[in-house]
Every structure is written in structure tokens, then in C-alpha cells.
């Protein structure tokens, strides 16, 4: 893989800039709450600006090359280098993490979780951002692992301190679960390091020596990576931390978790597990495919049984990430492209759904589906946004979700590298059935929350049907308690909504970036694969 080292300070700046914000916040007294929020916004905004600048400097014609590549000695004694780089695969996710964190910071301006203390919250959020961005640009396994783990702690505290009633349980479960995965992954990292001669932890090194390993060794090492990443994705049956974590996490935590953190797992598969261990990947691909499809159906069934809106959305993540994993497991250009698109689309759409759920919770103080209802009557704009997201989530063409879903299904018809076509075609059909379930639970959710009249406990005294009859503009009603989407929410949400439409109408935007890198990846896979 070729590397381009121009302007290679950009990634370090982009990754660590939030820490400047953290330092500033440390010296500001805790009582200055608004100031802390402001600093969080400014720091994440500056990071985003650096990210956008990086994107403008990115050479899109050579998206398959590792750009802005840094490779400096770091921990000499274990041959680990400080290596960062950006290519077409990591670039969308790198930017996504910055955008989401920035928008979440804006959203926090008005919607601080109940436990308060914006200082600690903001610091955690910025540290989280460092870990997330770092994971996507790290080009050294040790560095990757460090970033991968850095993410855990802030999230643990976010859930544990600002979470809901069961936060202790959820945060601990989240932490232990992911630690468990990481532990196995660490074993695999070490095994890979020593098996390949113990020369370097650099990604490029592993790419060069990929495939020289014995097939059985690859299979075992892949197993460790598989567990580590599958927990993060999460794949069935390692998904049970997800609903709890999402349900208990504060809105901000849920959004970041859904939009970016889950992608660490899928990104790990695409970036590390599959290219480094081609034979291991081929042996494991059917397993991944089967588990992915089980996840699709299972997640959907889980959704149908939920009574809590947030938990339902959380379960839908299991199903959607199933499509992504199905795409990856085909080991084709199509599938992996679809998977990356799916990651971004899911990040935007599900992130948005969690935002909406958070705002509903903020107003109603409950997310029990049976108690909600008539959202379109009491808060029309919020209701339409929820409908829009539900439609995007169920894969309506013209919105982002479709391009992650349909190509993934398509690619399963003809998996790569001699994987069993019969198996994958069965998987394809089941996955297609999953789209019906997706429509089922999302529309059912929408029907029960948005349609109909508001439930008695939340009904507005002024706002009855008979009054509505004569109102041409029911949107303009003034509600005392249940106010519609406010300005801060609009600011935080509009970019996401626009992105969902833009990516849906013009998917080339993303596919053009990922395609060269992915086609390189698949080509390399073909070269290194032992017969």
C-alpha cells in the first residue's frame, strides 16, 4: 500500500485537538456551566474544522493510498510506532466521529442530562472523541488498541453517572463485556506479532506479511479478533450489552455509541482482521454471515417485543449492523463498500433516532411506547422527523439507509473467493425478509407513537380535535409544556437530516471515496489468499 506523507501533522492535530479543550476546561471552575458547554462546542467545532480541512487536502484520486502518513518511533522496546494515516475506508468514519461529537456538543447546550456537571461531561466527551478519531486513523496495532480502549472509560462514566435508573448495571456490563472482547483481541494481537517474526506492529507491515501465516494459525488468531470486534459491533450473540447500555445511557451517550462506537467493530474487521488474515477471514466468513443474518432477524424480533422506544431503537441497531456484517462477510468489493456505506448511514440515521428519542424523553419523561401517542398532534415537527428517520432506517431508496442495505443483499448473491454460493443465497433471502421486519417494527413504532391522539395524561387542554378542525396550521399551536423542536435541536439535527438525504440521493459522494480503497483491499486479499 502506498503512502503519502504530505501535511502529515494534520491527523495528529485532528485527533488530539480536543485535549486542548480538556486542558482549558480543567482550569475553569466547575460552577461556570455555560462556559464549559461553550468550550466543549468550540473544541469539538475546531476539531471538526481541522477534519474538514483534512478532507479538502485529501487526494480523492488516490483514495486507496494511506495519506497524511506519519510513522515515528514511539515505544522502541516493543517495536511499536506512532503511525497514523487516512485512506478511503477510514476517512468517512473519521469525519463522521467529528461531526457527531460536534453536534452532540451543541445538543448538550439545552439538554444537559439530569446529573448535571457539564465540566466532567464535556471533558469525557472530548476524551471520547480523541479515542474514536484515533482508532480510525491509527496505523499501528498497539496504538490502535490503546485508542480502542481509551474509548471505554469515558463511555463507562457517561453511562454510569448520567444514565438512567439501571445505570450501574448497564455501565458495568458494557465495560466488562467489551473488556472481555478486548482481552481476547490482545492475545490475538500478540500472537500475530510474534507469529510474523516480531518485527513491527505497523499495519503496513502486517499487510506485507499477510497470508504467509499457516492457515490454522490464521484461523485461531482471527478468532480472537472476531470476538473482540464482534462484541463491539455487536453481533449476535454478543449483543446483549447494547440494549442495556443504550437504554440507560444519556441521549448524548446513546448517539455517540450508536453513531460511532459500534463502527469501531466493523471498522476493525475491514481494516485489521480481514486484510491481515485472509485465510482466517475466508474460513470465518460463513460464520460471520450466518451470525449476521441471525442478527438481522433476531434484532427485528427483539424490536417487536419492546415496550420502550429507546430499547427498540437499540435493538434495531443489532439488525442493521447485521446487514453491514453480511456485506463484510461476502468479502467482495460490493459487500464491503456497502458495509462502509451502511456504517455511515446507520450512524446518521440511528444517531438521529436516538436524538429524537432523547427529546421525547426530555418532554414526556417517559419512553414507554404505550404511553406515548399522537406525537404528530402535540409536536408535529418532531413527529415528522421521527417519521423521516423511521423511513430512512427501513431502507427507503432515496435516503441513506437504502444504499447500505440493498447492495449488501445484492452482494450476498455472489460472495467472493469461493465461499459457498448456496449458503449465501439463502442468507440473502433471509436478509431480504429482514427488511420487511424492519418496516414492520419501525412503522409499528411510528403508528403507536406518532399517529392517533395524544394520550390523556399528555393531552393539551386547549388542543382537542374539535379545536383542530378549524385550524389550518396546526403546527403553529403554542404548547406550554410540550414544545416542538427548538432552535438548538434544529441546529444539531439539520446537518444530519441533510446528510441523510444527500447521501441517499447522491451516494457517489461516499462510494467514490471508499471504492478505490476497498477494491485494493479485495485485490490484495485475492493475492494473499492461499489456495
Amino acid at each position: 500500500m502506498e503512502t503519502i506523507t504530505d501535511q502529515n501533522w494534520l491527523l495528529s492535530v485532528g485527533t488530539f485537538l480536543p485535549l486542548v479543550g480538556v486542558l482549558v476546561m480543567m482550569v475553569i471552575p466547575r460552577a461556570e456551566e455555560q462556559l464549559h458547554k461553550l468550550v466543549t462546542i468550540v473544541a469539538s467545532g475546531a476539531t471538526l474544522a481541522v477534519g474538514i480541512y483534512t478532507a479538502t487536502q485529501f487526494d480523492f484520486d488516490r483514495a486507496n493510498a494511506m495519506q497524511f502518513y506519519v510513522n515515528e518511533e514511539w515505544i522502541e522496546v516493543i517495536r511499536s510506532n506512532y503511525a497514523l494515516g487516512l485512506d478511503g475506508i477510514s476517512m468517512p468514519l473519521y469525519l463522521l466521529s467529528m461531526v457527531i461529537t460536534f453536534l452532540v456538543a451543541i445538543y448538550t447546550w439545552d439538554n444537559m442530562p439530569e446529573a448535571g456537571n457539564p465540566k466532567a461531561f464535556g471533558i469525557l466527551m472530548l476524551v471520547l472523541q480523541v479515542g474514536l478519531a484515533g482508532t480510525f486513523v491509527a496505523q499501528d496495532l498497539v496504538l490502535f488498541f490503546v485508542f480502542f480502549e481509551v474509548v471505554l472509560l469515558p463511555m463507562y462514566f457517561m453511562i454510569g453517572v448520567w444514565g438512567g435508573a439501571q445505570r450501574q448495571y448497564a455501565s458495568l456490563k458494557f465495560f466488562l463485556y467489551t473488556m472481555f472482547g478486548s482481552a481476547l483481541m490482545l492475545v490475538s494481537i500478540l500472537a500475530l506479532f510474534f507469529q510474523t517474526g516480531g518485527e513491527s506492529f505497523g499495519f503496513l507491515h502486517f499487510l506485507d506479511v499477510a497470508g504467509t501465516l499457516d492457515r490454522d494459525v490464521q484461523v485461531w488468531i482471527f478468532a480472537g479478533f472476531f470476538v473482540g470486534f464482534a462484541v463491539k459491533v455487536p453481533m449476535f450473540p454478543f449483543h446483549t450489552w447494547l440494549p442495556d447500555a443504550h437504554t440507560e445511557a444519556p441521549t448524548q451517550g446513546s448517539v455517540i455509541l450508536a453513531a460511532i462506537m459500534l463502527k469501531l467493530g466493523t471498522y476493525g474487521f475491514v481494516r485489521i482482521a480481514i486484510p491481515f488474515l485472509p485465510n482466517g477471514a475466508r474460513e470465518w466468513a460463513p460464520v460471520i454471515g450466518i451470525l449476521a443474518v441471525i442478527g438481522i432477524i433476531y434484532g427485528a424480533l427483539g424490536c417487536l417485543a419492546q415496550t420502550d422506544m429507546k430499547r427498540l431503537i437499540a435493538f434495531s441497531s443489532v439488525a442493521h449492523m447485521g446487514f453491514t456484517m453480511l456485506g463484510i462477510s461476502t468479502l467482495t468489493e460490493f459487500g464491503i463498500n456497502a458495509a462502509i456505506f451502511g456504517m455511515v448511514a446507520h450512524g446518521l440515521i440511528t444517531g438521529m433516532l436516538f436524538f429524537v428519542a432523547g427529546s421525547v424523553k426530555h418532554r414526556y419523561h417517559t419512553l414507554e411506547i404505550s404511553r406515548l401517542g399522537g406525537l404528530l398532534v402535540s409536536m408535529p415537527r418532531l413527529g415528522w422527523i421521527l417519521g423521516f428517520c423511521a423511513m430512512a432506517s427501513l431502507g427507503l431508496p432515496g435516503l441513506a439507509g437504502f444504499w447500505g442495505e440493498f447492495p449488501a443483499i445484492l452482494s450476498a448473491y455472489q460472495p467472493g473467493f469461493g465461499l459457498s454460493e448456496e449458503l449465501y443465497r439463502v442468507l440473502m433471502v433471509i436478509a431480504a425478509v429482514g427488511t420487511v421486519f424492519a418496516a414492520g417494527y419501525l412503522l409499528w413504532l411510528y403508528q403507536r407513537t406518532a399517529f392517533g391522539e395524544p394520550k390523556a395524561e399528555f393531552a393539551q387542554p386547549v388542543h382537542s380535535v374539535s379545536a383542530a378542525v378549524n385550524q389550518e396550521h396546526d403546527d403553529d399551536d403554542h404548547h406550554v409544556e410540550l414544545h416542538d423542536v427548538n432552535r438548538i435541536e434544529w441546529i444539531a439535527w439539520t446537518p444530519i437530516l441533510v446528510a441523510i438525504v444527500a447521501l441517499g440521493i447522491y451516494p457517489k459522494l461516499l462510494f467514490d471515496i471508499t471504492d478505490p480503497a476497498v477494491s485494493d483491499l479485495v485485490a490484495r486479499l485475492g493475492e494473499h489468499l492461499q489456495p
Partner: protein, 878 residues
Amino acid sequence: MLGATGWFLDNAWLIPIIPGVAFALIILIGKRLPMQGSELGVASMAASLVLSVGAAYQWIQRVDDAGGHSEAGTLGLIAGFGRSLTAAQEEGAAYVQPVIRSWTWWESGGASFGYGQHIDGLAVMMLFLVAFISLLVQIYSLEYVRGDRRYTHFFAAITLFSAGMLVMVLGENMIQVILGWEIMGLCSFLLIGHWWEDEANSTAALKAFLTVRVGDIGLLVGTSVLFFGANDWTQENLGTSGFSIQGLSAWALSGEASETVLLWGAVALFIACIGKSGQFPLHTWLPDAMAGPTPVSSLLHSSTMVVAGVFLVARLYPVFWEAFSIPDVSVNFIVVIAGITIVISALLAFVQDDIKKVLAYSTVSQLGYMMLGLGAGAWLPAVFHIFTHAFFKCCLFLCAGSVSHSGSHHSFDMKRDMGGLAKKMPITAGAWIVATLALAGVFPLSGFFSKDEIIDNVGHNGYEVFMYIALFGAFLTAGYMTRATYLTFFGEPRGAAAHASALEAAGAASGRAGASPQNDASGHVPSPGGAADPALEEGRASAGQVGVSPLEDRGVGGLSSEEDDPADPALHGELATAGLAHADHGDAEHHGPHESPKLILIPVCILAFFALTAGFTNAVAFGEDWEQFKEYVEPIAEASDLEAAGAAPRASDLEAAGAASVRSGSSILNDASSHSVSSPAPVQEEGGEEEHASGCGYTAPEEGGICFFPAVSHAEFEWSKAALSLIVVGIGLVGSWFVCVALYSKRSRSLVGLTQRLAPARWGYNFLWNKYYLDHLYEQRIIRSIAHPIARGANWVNQNVIDGVVNGLGIGGRKTGGWVYRNIDQRVVDGAVNASGAAAGGTGHALQPVQSGKVNQYGALLFGAAAVFAIVLVIVNV
């Protein structure tokens, strides 16, 4: 472009863009406009119509040019818009190249997903049809949904709906078809559930969306299957991806397609069509979709949404043709489904009381005809039936809307609230009757020319059994439409329809404030302040009690919809509208049945006119000169030159000999070697006709040749055959009329209550009334079991088994830890520690007295000890 193409053809892709943009504008600024966005919708549809007509005109020119003049293969590439394939035909009845342009949406792995246009006769016909019907429906809606609380949303959704259909119609590739297909799904969800305050409506919307979505599995799978099957071939021969409609068609006919792939692909796609076009067994959503506003139903059932499935089959006809061996086998998947659909839905139409549901089942049945035609090789009649059906079905729905709007107080219940309306609403009744006769297939109305052709050709192509099924269907159609007509427009007025006479009887006594009796249609001023008069709503609650004074019904306040039978979403829905959209109806509401306002009548009359005359565009009965459709819509099945077609298929070279006659004659290849002996009629019957050498659809094209459309056969029109179907229809009409008169007016003893008395009739009635228990099966068994036990089970498994394992591991870990702590750590390890401690403690106790704390004693001990050691030393040394 030398007349072969033109601006309208080249820019046909704009047609769906216009309403698409209009949709965005309505959403964004619609509410601030003087007519709340509706003007944008109407204007965009009008613009689309203009473009469609222009495209149609130029297409006709193009075909004429291709046929009439001898222009050497010309082509033009329109710069800046990617690949553009346009061509003029050399001469004779060559395959007229569609005007194809495409623009890459994105690429991956050598496959490009594109957006573009594929304009040929079929597309042009559908574009015109969709734009035309949509425009009329929108004009009608201006009046019909006036004052609705979501007036703007309604127009936004209905505009997007048309845009979706237009996108699909001119789709160049399958991705675009999926796009349009799903947009329609979304809009149907929004429109059917337009009055979502009522749960029944949103449930119907959900049902429609989900049922269609079940079919969409087939669309996704079928597209994938065909893509991978065809991609290599199309890339090599045409330079297009395996999504391309033209590529797929050519591939299917190339003889190189794997039969298994074709079959699976076609079956999957047909499943999608079953869902979308309401074929058995996924037809159940269509009647429920009546919960939407009437204009939506009419649009949905005439030119958009439900015909999308039929259109897809017609569009990818070569694929189905080859996959199901349509010319060789006298039974296949499509015709079986279609045959079942025709009969069961026609039977269901007999037991409906809701006028819109009668029409809904009628649509299902007519869609069955179209599918039957396609399945049996009668491509042209089926497509023609799409065309004619759109006019009369739209007309019927709009008449039904007109009746409920002005005649029956928003009720659609024929038995309770209608009857005798012909006198009150002559124009509506006239239009209705014209459309009904057209639907029944009475000569010379439009339905005759299309439906009879289907029946005729189905028999001609060897599907005799299905021809009789279709004839039986025609008989049933005549029957149920007569019943609906009679119940609505003739006989005694009932319920709401009877209010006029009741009011007249009550005379001035009913002098309610604000009720000015001289309310004519033109003075139909919206008066939001007038609000609803719920009392009259209650009029319909006085089910069938003819002549009950409305005064007695008054005083029941509130919205009446709460009292309705919740099992009937359609009825329910319209009533909710009645409540919500009441304000707009103003004072006219307070009167009995009257004729509808002009905005409603004009579209109805235009449609009735077309229902009357549309058939003449392809009136086979009058000879070849009348067969415009065959000339301009049906592609000529002719092998083009592959080399020329190559990366940019264009002018084909072909045998000029006899070509001129080919277009008017049949294009069946009469090559015995390519037909099995058992292959059906065409071979024998066509014996006398002039044949030409096209083997498309029968044999693989020769090396270097390429086919884009199979050579479908056409039955010759014979009055004797037409007479048979006319007689059947006549019997249906007349017989049904007499039964209706006897049953509903004279209350004949022997007929009334028959379904209660006679056991087989009762069973049959119940079976039909419950819609063959299909809904029961889907909702109670399948959906409930998925939504409840299975989902709960999965959730239970999740919570208890998988999560249980995790929690179990956690708890187990803690317990193990506890045990280790208690037994090993505390007893063994700590035991040792404690033991040593205890020993030390004991010793300490024993020595405690020594530590008196007194310095002197310590000193004494010290010196004592020193002395003792000194003595020992001395002794030892000595």
C-alpha cells in the same frame, strides 16, 4: 436528430423531476402560498403532462420515421449526460430503439448504478397516462379535500406519489424501478393513513405498506439474481450493467441466459408484482387501502401503484417470457395467479356494502386480467387494458367520491346511505354508468376493446382454460357492477341519501340557522367558521331507516366516527374526514343529495369521455388502421445487429424484405423446428398470415444478432368470438339487474334472507364475507404470531438465555469468587496467616508481664542479661 428524436424525448427524464421538485417546494413553502401548495402540485402535474404529450408526439414521429423513410442509421450523442443512445431505424418494421440516456449514480466493482430514462412506446404511454390521471385527480382534490387540516401535506404526498410512478415508468434500470416503487410505497403509506388520528386508518396504511413490502423481498432478490446473471453478458455485448432494463431484456432473449437464474429471478420479481398489484394471495391490502381519501384511491387504483406491478412485468417482458416459457406452455405461474385473482376478487365484490370496496375488488380483478394477458403472451392487450382501465376506474372512483361528497354525507355504504341518487346527481350518475359499461366491456366502450382482446388472445395462445375463467370473470364483473350501480343510483333512497326528502317533508320546521336551502354548487363557499354539524353526521347512523327525520337524530354531539364499526377502516376513515374536513363543505352540507361542484364534475366528465372513447386507439375490430397501439407501443420483435448494437446499440440492420407488412401482421416465427409439436395455437392459426423471419423469443438470435422483445402473437379479431363475450356480459348485466330489483326493491321473498336460510348459500356468503379468511390468516395467525409469541419468545431468549448466560457468567463469577474467598482465601491461606498470628499473640501474652513499661525494670533486665551472658562467657572461656 433528423426527426428521429427530439427535445421532448431526450429530456423525458425531466418529467418526474418536476413533481419531485414541486414536492420539495410544497413541503418547504407550501403553507405560505395562497392556495397552500396545491397550486404547485397541479402546476407540476400539468407541466409533466405537457412534457409527456410532447414526448408521445415525438415518439410517434420517431416510429413513423423509422417505418416510413429510409434513413441510414443515425445517432446522436448528447454531450454532457453520459451515455446516450438514440437512433433512427433504417426502414421497415425494425425494432425502434428506445431513447435511452443514463447517468451514473455510483459505481462499484465494475457495476454501475444509474439513473436515466428508457423511453419507448410503453413508457410514453404510461407517462401520458400517469400525468393525465394525476392532473385530473389533483384538480378534483382541490375541491374534495378542501379545508382538510393537512391539505398541504396531502398535495405534497400525492405529488410525490405521481413522481414516484413517473420515475419508475421511465426507469432505465432496475435500481430506478426500485426507487420509484418504494417512493410509491411510502406515499401510499402517507396517503392511506392521511387521517391518522384514527387508529383504523393508520392500521390500514401499515397493512398496505407491509404487504407490499413482503412482495418487495422478491424485488430485491429478483433484481440481485438477474443482475448477477446478466451482468457479464450485458457488459460484454451492450456495455451496460446488469441492472439495465434493455440489457436484461436482450440477455433474456439471447439464449445464453441460464434457465435457473431466469426462473428464480422472474419468480422473485413476480412475487413483488403480486404484492404491488394486489394479486392473490397478497391482495388483501387493497380493499383496506380505501381508508385513504377518495382521490388517493382513484389515483392508486387507476394509473399508479397497483399497475406498477403489471408495468414491471410488461417492462421486463422478455425475462418473464423466457423464464415461464410463455409461448410454449399453456399454464404458468403468472396465469394461475391471475386466474385465481380474477375470480376470487370478483366474487368478493358481490358481498361488499362499501361502494369503494366494490371498486377495490374490481380493480384487483381487472389487474388479474392484465396479468393474465401478460402471462398468456397477450402483451399488447394487457398494456392496452392498463390504458383503458385507468380511465374508467379513475372515473368510477371519482364518481364514488362525488356521491359521498355531495350525496351521502361522506358515507360509502351503499346499502345504508345511497339509492335513487340518479335523479339528484344526474351528471355523476351518467359518468358512472358510462364507466361501468366500459368496465363491463360493452361494445363500443373502451373496456370492450381491451378486455375482449385479452380474452381473445389468451385463448388464441393456447391458454383455453384461462380464457373461460376470464369469460366467467367478465360475467361476474358485469354482475357486481350492476349491483353497485343499482344500489347507488336506483331504487329507494336510504339513509343519508334520503335526507332530502326527509327535509322536504319536515319543511320549514327544520329551519336551522345557517341552513340556506338554495345552495347550489357554485356557491359552495368554504366557511371554516361554520364548523361541523355533527348532527347530520348522525344521519348515517340511522342505518337504512328511510325517512327518519333528521331532527330526531340531532343532538348527538361530538364526532360520530367513534361510534362506527371499527372493523371497517374504510368507512371509518371517510367518516373521520367528514368530521375533520367538515368545515369546508359549508352550508351545502346541510342538505340532501345534490350534484357536486364543478371542480369535481369536470374531471369526472373528462374521464367518462375517455372511458367512452379510449378504446378506439386500438380498436382491432375496425381493422388495421385503428391499431395505433400496436404500431406505436409494441416494440417490434426483430433481431438487431449485435455489432451495431454493441456498446451503443443503435440502428439495426435487418432484412428489409416484407418488413413493411410485418408491423401490421403477426410477427410470430413460424418455424416448426423451434416449436414443439404440442406448442399451442399460433403455429396453426397463423398459417395463412404472412410471416417474417424474426425468431425473437423462440430461438436464440443468430450470431451477432440481438433481440430486445419477443415476437408476441396477435389473435385476429373475429366478431363471433367477440359476440360470445358480449353475450356473457349482457347476461351478467341484465341478470344482475333483475336480481337487484327483486332483492333490493321488491324484497322478493324467495331472495331476501336467502343467505340465512340456505346452508350452502350461508356458508358461501360467510366465506366471502370473511374474505376467504385470508386476513384472518395473515393478521391473526402470521402477524400476531410474529409480533407476539415469536418476538416475545425471541425477546425472552434474549433476556433469559443469552443475557442469562452473560448474567449467569457474571453471577457465577461472583459466586465462584465468593466461594474461593470464603473457603480458600479465608480458611486456607488466611488460616495459615491467622495461625501464625495466634501463635505470636499467645507468646506475647506469656511475655506480657515482662513489658511492664518501667524503664528501671528494662534496665535491670538488660543488665541482668548482660551479666548472665558475661558469666556464660567467662565459664565457657575457662
